[in-house]
Amino acid sequence: MLNMETEEIIMENEVRLTKKTENLVTGNTGINTEYEIIARNLNVFYGEFQALKDVNMNILPYTVTAFIGPSGCGKSTFLRVFNRMNDYIDGFRIEGEVFVSGTEIYSNRIKLEELRRKVGMVFQKPNPFPKTIFENVAYGLRIQGVKDKHFILERVERSLKQVVLWDEVKDNLHKNALALSGGQQQRLCIARTLAVEPEVILMDEPTSALDPISTGKIEELIFELKNEYTIVIVTHNMQQAARISDHTAFFYLGELIEQGHTKDIYTNPKNKRTENYITGRFG
């Protein structure tokens, strides 16, 4: 048994370490305690089928939150709630409240286009537009009606640098984006999202179609991006969730089974189903 003093010292060490990590990782000095995303008593239906059952979640800004769970567990549905991409699906119905930076996003006053500028999304398969690399990144600004060429040029360069793609494509900005490799395409898609300066980036299995090297690059990128953005990522790769996320949420059959710090989930899950899933003993 540890005595009090020893425990205090451990705590002290841990606090110091986390702080150190935080400084190393984010370079942030202050910590914003307000939640970026809040979901309350959320139920989602597709026709008769209930895809999400009474989900509650708070997501801190400047963190990476990973959703894990077997296929069809509702994690992608939940992700797409945050930028209302489910709205196009027939029979989609939602109950409960979802706030993104303090605004209820399913209220009638919200304009979808505005929400999506604030909440960007990266998809499973790299899906660049069949246009030039430049136009891909500039797209978000163009549809906002930005005409200032200099501004667009600057933003495109900055976004491509953020995703560490600039050096690879700077001489081919006017080449078709579809000529890039899969990993480059996915980074381009992330750059495209960054160009409109969102607050939140949703990633729906962003590396499942990529090779390990490209996957590593994207993971590194996610690690860097959380300095400036709140990232929510759905992944089938449990190890990926462990590597890159600060918080992990485990979904099963539309229910949020367990959520917490990734460290805690992966070293000491509270729920048996979570443990079975992350240890690969599922089913």
């Binding site: 841990e14 370490l17 190393l24 190890q239 462990a242 590597r243």
Partner: protein, 244 residues
């Protein structure tokens, strides 16, 4: 830098701090012992909790590192080596603590003559140096420094081995022998010799981490086989390869 490289840096920092603390403990123990400083030995005993806390912190960090990063190859060896190194450091801390309790509880007093006779200063200085060598070896990846420790450990062994003979010689024609103190002092020397072995273990882990070479038990197994007149074989050395 990859995300997990930050983790490795964190753990390395933690272990370095633990090294510094243990070096400090050993150093202070020498002072407390030679000057029979009651207060100082008390302080060392208090600080032992810190050493323990460091071991637990390292354990927890390694657990997270293994769970989250699923390290392989060099990173996996790093995690395993660090686990064992921190355990060894903790035990070195324990020995410093026990020596201090001898000063604190048993009022152990050493006179100059016996210090010189048993080369106690040399023992401590050698251990200081060995600790510096292994911590530098770990930090900079200099295997040569780690290998140096094996030779240094032999010095400790030699002194320890000579101990009965020396004491015998010294007290041969003397009366008023303070047997209590003599037993205690020989315990101190024994503990210091054990510290040397622990540092040797640390050096072995460092070599394992950097070169993936397992040198533990190798020589010792050979020696045992020779003594017992056995043929040396892999299987045999496996069987006898128990923790000393």
């Amino acid at each position: 830098m990859k995300p997990f490289e930050y983790e490795i840096e964190n753990i390395k920092t933690l272990v370095n701090e633990m090294f510094d603390l243990v070096k400090d403990q050993v150093h202070l123990t020498k002072e407390a012992l030679l000057t029979s400083d009651h207060d100082l030995s008390g302080e060392i005993m208090r600080k032992e909790k810190r050493v323990n806390a460091y071991e637990l912190s390292v354990d927890r960090e390694i657990e997270d590192f293994l769970a989250l990063q699923a390290p392989v190859a060099t990173d996996l060896r790093f995690a395993i080596a660090i686990l064992k190194i921190s355990a060894s450091l903790e035990r070195i801390g324990d020995h410093a603590y026990r020596i201090s309790t001898l000063v604190f509880d048993e009022q152990l007093k050493v006179n100059k003559g016996i210090v010189e006779l048993l080369q106690i200063s040399t023992l401590f200085d050698e251990i200081d140096d060995m600790l510096i060598n292994v911590s530098d070896a770990l930090e900079k990846g200099e295997i040569e420094l780690a290998k140096k420790v094996f030779k240094q450990d032999k010095t400790l062994d030699k002194i320890n081995k000579k101990l009965p003979g020396l004491l015998d010689e010294h007290y041969k024609n003397k009366k008023n022998i303070d047997l209590h103190n003599i037993i205690l002092i020989s315990r101190v020397v024994g503990k210091l010799e054990r510290v040397g072995d622990l540092i040797k273990n640390i050096a072995e882990e460092i070599i394992f981490y950097y070169e993936s070479e397992v040198i533990r038990h190798r020589k010792k197994n050979l020696k045992i086989s020779k003594k017992l007149g056995e043929a040396t074989g892999e299987a045999e050395s496996e069987k006898t390869g128990m923790e000393e």
